[in-house]
């Protein structure tokens, strides 16, 4: 029959029209600024820099190795290495980035910087409220705007952050153990040397050998 | 000058402008348009004479105009399609350049 399909279609839209007033679960729209969808854990948009502790300048994990800068496909990262060094989270003396800029209007969210970072210093953010009335200043993120605490990282990507923290704790433990062993060895060597020196000298003092510990 | 005469003068002015266009323009479409204008000027005459004529209830002027409008429409359709066909042949609508009978 001619026009049967048209009538069927009209019936369908009518059903939708009235149904949307009857059952609220038909309306899937989220009223955005007031309502938010729950964040999915694997969401990612733009990179940020992780720092440990309370002070973002002190705890910055980044050591300005510039691997991410080289790997970035759209070349949206700009890093200036510092002249001096400062101790990092593991207590090692490292360079730090004097400037670290990411132009997120260029960034394509590929996550390659995150993959290549050997220090777990750069991670993907989930914040998408980035609109700005200034295309140049507003979307060019500097070091301060990029830095976010490890707690924040744990909050947005719990699983991933836990794994990273565990790995870093392990590394740190390893390093500590190594340091301890080295210190022990050093202490032992010192003790030995001291003993030897005391032997060489005249008044050996056994208790004094353990004192540096 | 009375109203009938003013209408007639207006119509003759339209006719002359149409004639001038038809004689001077070289684009076939514009020549056709000039001819349409001349037809329209004639129609205006018919209506004016019907309005101020001795017996308007006979409707002769109106009837003449209605038929004339239909004929003009047919003429425009056929004329423009002939121009289109000629354009396909000679790639031009310039009457000065359409100077050969061979297709």
């Amino acid at each position: 029959m001619v026009g049967e399909g048209i009538l069927k279609g009209l019936a369908e839209t009518a059903r939708n029209f009235f149904g949307s007033y009857v059952s609220k679960d038909r309306l899937t729209t989220v009223q955005y600024p007031e309502q938010r969808e729950p964040q999915i854990e694997a969401t990612r948009d733009f990179p940020f820099l992780v720092y440990d502790g309370a002070d973002w300048q002190q705890g910055m994990r980044c050591v300005a190795c510039q691997i991410c800068e080289k790997e970035c496909p759209p070349k949206c990262i700009y890093i200036d290495k510092s002249k001096d060094k400062k101790p990092d989270a593991f207590g090692k003396s490292q360079f730090y980035p004097a400037t670290f800029n990411i132009d997120i209007s260029v960034c394509m969210s590929c996550q390659i910087c995150v993959e290549v970072c050997p220090f777990d210093a750069i991670k993907m953010d989930v914040d998408y409220h980035l609109s700005s009335d200034n295309r140049f200043g507003g979307l060019m993120l500097n070091k301060q705007r990029l830095s976010k605490s490890n707690e924040y990282y744990n909050a947005i990507h719990p699983t991933e952050a836990a794994a990273v923290d565990a790995q870093r704790a392990e590394e740190k433990a390893k390093l500590d153990a190594k340091a301890k062993a080295a210190a022990d060895a050093k202490a032992a060597a010192d003790a030995k040397a001291a003993a030897e020196s005391s032997l060489a000298q005249f008044a050996p003092n056994q208790s004094a050998a353990g004192d540096p510990q | 000058m009375n109203s009938l005469q003013s209408y007639l003068i207006l119509s003759s002015l339209l006719f002359s402008v149409g004639l001038a266009g038809a004689l001077t323009r070289r684009n076939a479409i514009l020549v056709l348009i000039g001819i349409e204008l001349m037809l329209n000027a004639a129609n205006l005459n018919f209506i004016a004479f019907w309005r101020y004529g001795p017996n308007p209830e006979a409707l002769t002027g109106i009837m003449f105009t209605i038929f004339s409008i239909s004929i003009a429409a047919a003429e425009a359709a056929v004329g423009l399609s002939i121009i289109l066909a000629a354009y396909r042949h000679s790639r031009t609508t310039d009457l000065d350049q359409m100077n050969s009978l061979k297709g």
Partner: protein
């Protein structure tokens, strides 16, 4: 000569002159549409409602659009070059002016027109569509039928002439 007649006359003449004088063919057709509309309004002023509306429907709605289509299909929608020789142009204008002069002389000196005018002219001969329809289907029925045949023939003829025949010729 009333004010409304003057306005309409100026409008119509302006449209006509630009339709014949502008360089861009599309502008010419748009001016032509204005001129047709002006003529239609003159018909209305003369009390011929039906003819006036028919004029708009046929000329502005169909003939102008047809002309526009023809212009687009023949690639004439760019400003045209001025004619090389002014001789033809001048000759055409002279002929037109001569025709106008002769016609005006005839109209002004006509005694018939004055005679008609002095007769009592009905203030507005009320012609209804009903009257026109009656006349068309009684007194003018044969011309009407012939007109139908003519229009059909013109329709078919226009289609046949304008049809692209390259496919057939292959």
């Amino acid at each position: 000569m009333t004010a409304s007649f003057m306005i309409l006359a100026v409008l119509t003449v302006a449209g006509t002159v630009s339709a014949m004088g502008l360089r861009n063919a599309v502008h010419c057709v748009l001016a032509l549409a204005l001129s047709f509309a002006g003529i239609a309004m003159l018909y209305l002023q003369l009390g011929a409602q039906f003819v006036g509306f028919t004029q708009i429907l046929v000329y502005v709605g169909a003939v102008a659009i047809l002309a526009v289509f023809a212009i687009m299909m023949t690639h004439n929608d760019k400003p045209m070059a001025l004619p090389d020789s002014h001789a033809a142009w001048v000759a055409g204008c002279v002929v037109a002016v001569a025709v106008f002069a002769v016609l005006t002389r005839a109209i002004v000196s006509s005694t018939t027109a004055v005679q008609i005018q002095t007769q009592t002219v009905a203030p507005q001969p009320g012609v209804t569509v009903q009257q026109i329809g009656d006349a068309l289907l009684h007194r003018f029925v044969v011309p009407l039928e012939i007109m139908g045949v003519l229009l059909t023939a013109a329709l078919i003829g226009a289609v046949v002439i304008a049809m692209d025949r390259r496919e057939e010729m292959k």
